[in-house]
């Protein structure tokens, strides 16, 4: 069978991007595959195309509800109607209907918690699948930055005797995480495709400051003098608001973006960023997934990311068009402490374990802790999972170990900040790869002239003329004639 033909017929491309064909060939031959492909390199095609070769449904396990919706939308845009998302957004009757007709879909997206429900499992046993895809597979590993306890239990489903091939996808994973993926998913001697994590057109800058005020001043000056579009990543919601406010006051079209924003606002911001009417986004790590913009020229990390993998993923949103882009990592004294503190915020500790036991002893639901404001929802999920697995003392040890890992992860980012040798080399090493070639203007340590990479910002006084509400509505509904 000619894969190129299927590619052109269903997706309108004439050639594959690096890695796609190798991965798909292995799947078609019935082999398990682990594929590490950077975001924006057409990961999803690796399971969408097989969907048209086999005449059986493809099951895609995906951790983030927002991402799932995005993927469903994208497939629908390709005029594919037989796609469905099975997640907690569905009400009881919708869910029942969907499960009943599950075998009729070509692509079934499912959240891990839904996968483990009995009615779903029963239905899955009764039908034949062509492929099981585990998206964001690094979530299965505690060494990954995004560990999701529910992911560990996917193995219960994939361990079944007569199963289709498994495709584990991720953008970033270290060797340790790769081992975990293979082990927990019970994969059978998988074919592994690893795309080089290095992105030579992203130039890695770094800057140190005495204190946070100096840092903010630098950002404001830098943004007004150099050209975007760009994203400024920071840690807290309130910081996204305050920095964007400052930039707006300077006349730079900016928006703050975080998980607490009005859902419609989030859509508008993404759309405006993509169509170019917004120059800068100031965001928490909630921004980026599912935003496909080719010409992002700058990424600035106002605060240090909680681990190297996150950092890699976030700077990877720059320069998807292949042209030069600048990633700036900023650091002021005390930032590392803050990063550790923030990292722990959504993580349970020993006190929570004791509280959990106390609630049980009083014959109350431990989840009441959330309502009483004693623990965050995310932290509770992790705690609850482990409390069902182990004895409380073991849980404490487990949490302690995980906490240590998180601290270590921040330390690793810190090394990137302190290093006097090549930053790019260090990054690539982190993922167990070797750097073959250094681009010119490689990184802050190798020597980097910002002005060679990014252009001066043209002051434009042009403002979109404001139109009356009647005209605006006319333009939208009847077109700009």
């Amino acid at each position: 069978m000619e894969l190129e033909k299927v590619l052109e017929q269903h997706f309108g491309y004439t050639s594959f991007r690096p890695g796609q064909k190798e991965v798909i060939e292995q799947i078609v031959n019935g082999k398990d595959v682990i594929a590490l492909l950077p975001t924006g390199m057409g990961k999803s095609l690796c399971y969408q195309l097989p969907g048209y070769i086999f005449n059986k449904p493809v099951l895609i396990i995906s951790p983030l509800l927002s991402l799932m919706q995005d993927q469903v939308d994208q497939i629908k845009q390709l005029k594919e109607k037989r796609v469905v998302a099975l997640n907690s957004f569905l009400n009881a009757s919708q869910k029942k209907g969907t499960i009943q007709h599950l075998h009729q879909y070509r692509f079934i997206f499912i959240s891990p918690e839904m996968l483990l429900q009995q009615q779903v499992q029963q239905k899955l046993i009764s039908m034949e699948l062509s492929l099981i895809v585990v998206d964001e597979a690094h979530c299965i590993s505690q060494w990954g930055f995004d560990f999701r306890p529910d992911y560990l239990r996917i193995g219960e489903v994939t361990a079944k005797g007569n199963r289709p091939p498994i495709l584990a996808l991720s953008a970033t994973a270290t060797n340790k995480v790769l081992g975990d993926i293979e082990f927990y998913l019970k994969m059978n001697n998988p074919y592994t495709f690893i795309h080089s994590v290095d992105r030579p057109n992203i130039h890695i800058g770094r800057k140190m400051f005495q204190n946070r005020e100096e840092k903010l001043d630098w950002i404001l000056e830098h943004v007004i003098e150099t050209e975007g579009p760009g994203i400024i990543y920071t840690q807290s919601r309130s910081k996204t608001e305050s920095i964007s406010e400052r930039l707006l006051q300077m006349g730079i079209s900016t928006a703050a973006y975080h998980g607490g924003k009005d859902p419609l606002d989030r859509q508008f911001i993404q759309q405006q960023f993509i169509d170019g009417s917004l120059e800068w986004i100031v965001a928490t790590n909630a921004f980026g997934m599912g935003v496909h913009k080719q010409n992002v020229r700058q990424i600035i990390h106002e605060s240090i990311p909680s681990n190297v993998a996150n950092y890699m993923q976030e700077i990877g949103r720059a320069g998807r068009d292949g042209r030069d882009a600048l990633a700036m990592l900023l650091f002021a004294d005390g930032d590392d402490e803050f990063a550790k503190f923030v990292g722990m915020d959504d993580f349970p500790n020993e006190v929570h374990v004791d509280l959990y036991i106390e609630y049980r002893r009083k014959d109350e639901l431990p989840s009441t802790m959330i309502q009483n404001g004693e623990i965050s929802e995310t932290a509770y999920r992790v705690l609850d999972y482990w409390m069902h697995q182990f004895h409380p003392n073991e849980v404490k040890q487990q949490l302690y170990a995980m906490k240590n890992d998180k601290m270590k992860a921040v330390e690793e980012v810190l090394q990137l900040i302190q290093t006097k040798s090549c930053m790019r080399e260090k990054l690539v090493h982190y993922f167990g790869q070797t750097l073959m070639e250094k681009p010119s203007n490689c990184c802050e340590c190798c020597g980097l002239e910002y002005k060679d990479i990014i252009r001066k910002r043209e002051q434009s006084d042009y403002k979109e003329p404001t139109v009356s509400w009647r005209r605006r509505l006319e333009n939208i509904l009847l077109g700009f004639s």
Partner: protein, 347 residues
């Protein structure tokens, strides 16, 4: 500023008889007996549940600024006192139309439907039938799909029809230009993104909260206008379907209300439904509380209403037993009706 005005108006209506938390619960639309009863007693139907997502933090911030500006004094146990200047500001707030009791946040469903229809039609006009829907709620998507099919969108005339209906309803619904601009700015279409709350607030030089309040107020009056002239707005009328809550009564009270509407007397209803007359009285009180248009003058004269209100004022109490001693010629039922209705009656 609008938020402050509205808040002072609510405080004013509460007549210093509730704590500083009461307006918060009212705006959030708390479904507790106390809040629901207060809606009737203090005649606060319009504000019920207009800000379901209001955070306590935000509420407290505004409250503190009202204290700083000396509009309000707050005492340790949570009671408060409005200053004279506060009462003037409160009057300005009366200008904004709200009907929270009847819409209860459903105005957002109306707008979600509208925005997805507009986005779809905008793309269809450009022959771009694949796009990422701005509304992610599956139920809204299904509803809109249905709407488009039923109204034969494929013929390509729906854009013009909807445009005309929107313009004519907005123009005749007595809204300020600013209000209409805000609502239309929240729509998006082919290669046109909507504006965020922050962007609108910059444009209009208002706080985000005030922009949202104007937006909600605009939707309330727009939908009300559409429902009152449904024959004129064939399309918009469909969008407004099931948005207005039918008088929210308990099941049994609802049956009583139906019979009463048909002209049966309370005694007849008691007989038909085999319920004690006191139960029917409870129902009538509930109806009076819930439906501001339900006239209580059929049970008690305007003069007697005034007498009860005066007794409430003079003795500064709402206790039935005491009030009954002051106006012994009235029944408990009649007094309860007056209390259910609150200040507005007789004025």
């Amino acid at each position: 500023m609008i938020f402050e005005q509205i808040l002072l108006q609510i405080f004013h209506n509460f007549n210093q008889e509730r704590t500083i938390s009461a307006p918060f619960h009212l705006l959030k639309g708390k479904r507790s007996g106390q809040t629901i009863q207060d809606v009737g007693i203090y005649h606060l139907h319009k504000f019920f549940s207009i800000l379901p997502k209001l955070s306590r933090q935000h509420y407290n911030d505004i409250l503190n600024s009202l204290i700083e500006q000396q509009y309000i004094k707050v005492f340790d146990e949570g009671s408060y006192l409005l200053t004279e200047r506060a009462k003037e500001v409160a009057k300005i707030g009366e200008g904004y139309f709200f009907n929270g009791w009847y819409y209860r946040g459903n105005e957002h469903i109306f707008f979600a439907r509208l925005s997805l229809i507009v986005q779809s039609l905008s793309h269809q006009g450009e022959n771009q039938m694949s796009f990422s829907p701005i509304q992610k709620d599956e139920q809204i998507q299904q509803w809109v799909r249905q709407f488009l099919v039923v109204n034969n969108y494929k013929e390509g005339h729906l854009q013009q029809k909807l445009f005309e209906e929107m313009v004519s309803s907005l123009e005749s619904s007595n809204l300020e230009e600013r209000a209409k601009t805000i609502v239309i700015n929240r729509l998006a279409g082919f290669q046109t993104a909507g504006l965020t709350w922050q962007q609108i607030s910059y444009q209009e030089k208002l706080t985000e909260m005030d922009v949202q309040l104007i937006y909600i107020s605009t939707l309330h009056s727009w939908i009300t206008h559409i429902l009152n002239h449904s024959e004129k707005y064939v399309l918009l009328h469909q969008l407004a379907k099931d948005i207005r809550v039918i008088i929210p009564l308990s099941g049994s009270a609802y049956q009583t209300a139906e019979l009463f509407r048909k002209g049966y007397s309370m005694e007849e209803i008691s007989h038909i439904r085999r319920l004690k007359i006191s139960t029917i009285e409870d129902h009538i009180v509930e109806i009076a509380m819930n439906d501001p248009e339900f006239s209580i003058e059929q049970f008690i004269s305007t003069e007697d209403v005034k007498k009860v209100m005066m007794a409430v004022d003079d003795y500064n109490t709402r206790k039935l037993k005491i009030l009954h001693e002051v106006v012994p010629h009235l029944s408990y039922f009649q007094i309860r009706l007056v209390l259910a209705r609150g200040e507005e009656v007789g004025t």
